[in-house]
C-alpha cells in the first residue's frame, strides 16, 4: 500500500502537488471563472495532455518531437468525424443535393460518404479510434525511425516534416476532411447537446479528470524501472543497449504513450471547443506545445500543466493587446527558458521556493533549530530501498554537488 502510494503520487510531496493542482482545476477555477472563461481554461488544459506526453518523450526519453500536433489533431479529428456524422442526419441536411453527408462534402460535389468515414457512425468505434489511430501512426513513425537509430535533431526535423505533410494533406483533400476550415458545426453527442453551458461544465470536469489520470499514468511509468531506463538511455544509449536492452522498443513505447495522451487532449478539445481544424496539426502548434512543456519544466508532469495554462493565458492576453508581437514574445520566452531555466517552472520551484518552504516548516516544527536546509546533501547515505528519488531532486543534488568542491575520497 505504502509502496503503491509512493509510486503513484510520488510520496507526500507529490501528493500535495497533485492535490493542489486538482483543487485548482476542480474547485478554484470553476468557482472564480464564468463558463466562457472556464471553457477557455478547459481548452488550455487539452494542450496540457500534449505537454505531459512531451515530458515523458522529451524530458525522460530524450526524444524531442516537433510534431505532437499530429496526434492531437488525429485524436480530435476522430472525435469530430463522429460528431459531424451525427449532426449530418438526412433530416437536418435535406437542403443539400446529397442529404445525409457532412455539409463540406456536399459543397465539394461528393455524392456518397467516403468508406473511411463509415465506421465513425459508431461512438464506440470512434472512441477506440481516438486512441488507436494516433497510436498506430506514432508506432509506424517511431519504428521506422528508431529501428534505424535515427534520433536527436534528425528525429525532430522528420516529425516536423510529417506534421507539415499531414496538414497539407488535410487542407488539400477538402472533400474528405473539411479542408482548411476543418470540421465545424458540431452539435450533439448521442443526442446530448454539447453547446449548452451545462454540457460545457460536464466536459470541463471530465477533461480535468482525464488529465489527472494521465498524470498518474505518467507517474507510474517514470517511477518504474522503465522510467529509470529512459533516463539512462537519454544519457548513455550505448550502455543500455550493451546491457541487453532493445533500446528502440523503449523509445517506441514512450513515443506511443505520448501520442495517445496528445490524442485524448485532441478529442477533448473537439468536444469542448466544438470544432477541429488543421491549424492544430501543423508546425506552429506543435512547437507551441513543446514550449508549454519547456516552460512548465520538461521533467515535471505537473509542471507541464502549469506551463500550458500560464503560456496560454499569456498568449490570450498578449495576442489581444499586441497581436503582431506575440510570436516574437513566444520565441523569446522559449529561448529564455531554455537558456536560463532548463528545468522550467518546476526547476525554479525546486531550487528556489521549495528550500524556503522546507525551512519554514522546519522552523515551525523545530522551534528555531538552526539546521542548514540544503536541498539535498550529496553524500547523505540514502537507503536505496526507501528512497524513490525524483530527477528533480537529482538535479538539485548535482547542483548542490557542483557548488561544493569535489567530494574527497580516501
Amino acid at each position: 500500500m505504502q509502496v503503491a502510494m509512493n509510486k503513484l503520487f510520488g510520496g507526500r510531496e507529490g501528493l500535495v502537488g497533485l492535490a493542489i493542482l486538482a483543487a485548482l482545476i476542480f474547485i478554484i477555477m470553476p468557482l472564480t471563472f464564468d463558463i466562457f472563461r472556464l471553457n477557455l481554461v478547459g481548452k488550455y488544459l487539452t494542450y496540457a495532455f500534449v505537454a505531459i506526453g512531451l515530458v515523458l518523450c522529451w524530458g525522460y526519453g530524450g526524444i524531442l518531437s516537433l510534431g505532437q500536433g499530429m496526434f492531437f489533431g488525429l485524436g480530435g479529428y476522430c472525435m469530430a468525424m463522429f460528431l459531424k456524422l451525427e449532426s449530418s442526419s438526412p433530416e437536418s441536411t435535406k437542403i443539400q443535393s446529397t442529404p445525409g453527408i457532412p455539409d463540406f462534402m456536399d459543397w465539394n460535389q461528393l455524392t456518397a460518404l467516403p468508406w473511411f468515414w463509415e465506421p465513425f457512425h459508431s461512438l464506440s468505434f470512434s472512441l477506440v479510434a481516438v486512441i488507436a489511430v494516433p497510436c498506430i501512426f506514432a508506432f509506424i513513425i517511431s519504428v521506422a525511425m528508431f529501428k534505424r537509430r535515427v534520433g536527436g535533431v534528425y528525429f525532430a526535423i522528420i516529425t516536423q516534416a510529417i506534421a507539415l505533410i499531414l496538414t497539407i494533406l488535410i487542407i488539400g483533400q477538402q472533400g474528405y476532411t473539411g479542408g482548411i476550415n476543418g470540421i465545424t458545426d458540431l452539435r450533439t453527442l448521442k443526442g446530448w447537446d454539447i453547446r449548452t453551458d451545462e454540457a460545457k461544465y460536464v466536459l470541463y470536469f471530465l477533461n480535468g479528470a482525464l488529465l489527472i489520470g494521465c498524470i498518474l499514468v505518467g507517474r507510474l511509468i517514470i517511477t518504474s524501472k522503465l522510467g529509470r531506463l529512459l533516463l539512462a538511455m537519454r544519457d548513455r544509449e550505448d550502455r543500455v543497449r550493451f546491457s541487453g536492452y532493445d533500446v528502440s522498443s523503449f523509445k517506441v513505447f514512450v513515443f506511443c504513450v505520448g501520442a495517445m495522451m496528445s490524442a485524448i487532449g485532441g478529442a477533448m478539445f473537439t468536444l469542448q471547443v466544438g470544432f477541429m481544424s488543421p491549424s492544430f496539426v501543423g508546425i506552429v502548434p506543435s512547437i507551441e506545445m513543446v514550449i508549454f512543456a519547456a516552460v512548465g519544466g520538461r521533467m515535471s508532469l505537473i509542471g507541464a500543466v502549469y506551463g500550458a495554462l500560464i503560456v496560454n493565458f499569456a498568449k490570450t492576453f498578449f495576442s489581444e493587446s499586441f497581436p503582431a508581437l506575440w510570436l516574437f514574445l513566444m520565441g523569446g520566452l522559449f529561448i529564455a527558458v531554455v537558456m536560463l531555466f532548463p528545468n522550467g517552472l518546476a526547476g525554479i520551484y525546486t531550487s528556489y521556493i521549495k528550500p524556503r518552504i522546507d525551512a519554514w516548516i522546519q522552523g515551525r516544527r523545530g522551534g528555531g533549530n538552526l539546521t542548514p536546509t540544503v536541498p539535498a546533501e550529496p553524500q547523505d547515505p540514502v537507503s536505496p530501498r526507501t528512497a524513490e528519488r525524483t530527477p528533480a531532486s537529482a538535479a538539485s543534488r548535482s547542483l548542490a554537488a557542483g557548488i561544493q568542491s569535489e567530494p574527497s575520497r580516501s
Partner: protein, 248 residues
Amino acid sequence: MSSNTDFVLSIEDLTVSFDGFKAVDKLNLYVDKNEIRVVIGPNGAGKTTVLDLICGKTRATSGSIKFKDLELTRMSEHQIVRAGVGRKFQNPSIYENLTVFENLEISYPKGRSVFGALAFKRTAEVVARVEEIAREIMLDEFLGTEAGLLSHGQKQWLEIGMLLIQDPELLMLDEPVAGMSARERELTGQLLRRICTNRSVLVIEHDMEFVKNIAHKVTVLHQGKILKEGSMEMVQSDPKVIEVYLGH
C-alpha cells in the same frame, strides 16, 4: 570451415573494411573457457574494433565469430548481451545521474522487455544481488551516491560491476586500468582475478606491468593481424613484437 565448440569464443577469418581500409584483416582468435586473454598492440592495430565486432557494435565484412555455438555476426547487440557476452567501454560508461544502486539495478538481467520493465519490482533478491556485487567492486559504501560523483577508478569498477551482475560467460574489458592510480590498478588486478573464475575475460590493455600480472596468454595485434600469440615472456622477447611495439 571447422569450428571447435570447446572454445568459448572462436573468431575465424574475420575481416572488416572501412572504405577499403582493413581495420581487421583475416583474424583468427580462440579464447578458452576460464581464460584471461589480453590483447595488446600499437595504436590503430584494431584492438577496439575487434571488441566492437564481437559485441555487434560494428558489423563484420566477412568471417565468423562464434560464441559457443552462436554465430554473433548475425545477432543484434542486445541478443548478444543476453547470450552472455558483456562489454566494458574504454571510457567509463555509466549513468551519471543515477545512484550506484540504480546503475547496478538497471543492469540486473530481469525485466528487459518494455512491459517487463514496467512491472519490474525491487525485490529482496534484487537488492541482495546488487549489494553482493557492490561489495565485490568495493563500492558497498556508495550505494546511495550519485554515480557522477565517483572517482574515475570507482566509475570503472562500477561499470565492471554492471557487467558482473549479468554474470556473462565472456567479459570484454577495454583498457580497464587506464587513468588509474597505482593503488587502484592493484585493486583492479585483484578484482579481475577474483571475477574470472567461471568465465572467460578478454582484455585490451596498454599497461605492461598490469598485463604481466593478469594475463594467461597475450595476443599482439598489428595492422589488423595477429603478430604473435603466447605467454607474456614469449611475446616480450619476440623481435618482431619489440620492433613494432615494445621497443618504442
